[in-house]
Symmetry: C2
Subunit: 230 residues, 2 copies
């Protein structure tokens, strides 16, 4: 539009990304065809290959545009916390709130696709498609590394391995939490207070912290199922 002129199609690229994000979340990558995407977006079928090169590249771009922001924000929070602590170990709940709080705030944004994206992201951790998992691991490694180290410093009594597993468990709980009503219908058809975007955080955070700080099981004691030991 302006001087350079090499930038046309004011929004068709974004339209494709928005629609693809939604459809990928609703139906998965394989089940979502480029015909459906372009049809719903009101653009030509060929345009997605023009703008992104392939379906695989489109998928990656759907993640990249939001993950960049998400992870930068997480690091910004962690940086702030560590700066304020001046080298002292952080309190665990601050670390957890930084990592998951940013995600939950994004998930609370139902206006600009943040909610859609976070649901897609949660689903994708266990996604079978290999190139997506590899891509995710790459995008995440730096951030996760920082938070891992912070947690290990914050919980000196807990074995390193245990912390990693619990981090993993927390991620799982959050994914389900965000996937929300759909998967929850399996458990109940209950009425939910979805109006309040902070409600989920107020439910999830105590759960995560309770799990993170739970006492450890004794090493091995051959207790099996605690059936006779009662």
């Amino acid at each position: 539009m302006s001087a350079t002129d090499q930038k046309q199609s004011p929004d068709t690229r974004e339209r494709i990304l928005d629609v693809a994000e939604l459809l990928f979340m609703q139906h998965g990558f394989e089940a979502t065809s480029m015909r459906t995407i372009t049809g719903r977006a009101g653009v030509n079928l060929a345009s997605v290959n023009y703008h992104f090169g392939s379906k695989e590249a489109l998928i990656q771009e759907v993640f990249r545009r939001r993950l960049t922001w998400l992870n930068r924000e997480r690091l910004r929070e962690l940086d702030r916390l560590e700066r304020e602590a001046k080298g002292a170990p952080l309190k665990p709940h601050l670390i957890v709130e930084a990592f998951f709080g940013v995600a939950l705030r994004m998930a609370a944004d139902t206006e600009h696709g943040g909610h859609t994206f976070m649901r897609l992201l949660g689903r994708t951790y266990t996604e079978p498609t290999e190139f997506v998992r590899n891509f995710l691991a790459e995008e995440y490694s730096a951030v996760v590394e920082r938070f891992k180290e912070a947690l290990i410093k914050a919980l000196p009594g807990v074995p390193r391995e245990e912390i990693l597993w619990r981090f993993h468990f927390m991620l799982g709980a959050m994914s389900y939490a965000i996937s929300g009503t759909d998967a929850l219908k399996l458990v109940t058809e209950c009425e939910l207070d979805e109006k309040d975007p902070g409600a989920l955080a107020r439910r999830l955070m105590p759960f995560l912290l309770g799990g993170l700080r739970a006492p450890l099981a004794e090493p091995q004691a051959k207790q099996k199922n605690a059936r006779k030991a009662a």
Copy 2:
């Protein structure tokens, strides 16, 4: 083979189910073609339609044959606990151990596909494919209802809604836990003690119970992110 004669193909049906289960877990439903399944199973392409009728019916049968056992076992445990308690509320940890313990024991069976199936199942809670979710909800409703009621009785101080959410969170944590190494690689490339099948339960159970029994957040207090409130 015997008198009735109407039962041929001693094992091709089971072979198809075993292979389908594995491939569905590894690559998802859409990405797994019937050609791949039959090819890997060493049976004819047409045989899957002969034995099951359609791909969709095959998927359902993959779930049905294991879910029946899994849920019956869960109810058996719960029945036993309630019988022993004679009407008194159960301790929460017993309920959790009944529900998740059965699943974790199945997940520990790497010999006969239990592990494969539980990973598939965990992935499927958030599966976009609608008919699968509906099918799961149907198979699960009776069991979940029973455990829900038991938990509500066991935790009289906690609001009903909160319990349902925490049940949901626990399911999420377990799914990730079982999906295990693959998804965990996102967090770390750590070495795992996979030899011991009970190890996962000893890590997960304390986490689940810690989350379930965590203190509740105060209702609403407009605290947003507890940033200024420190």
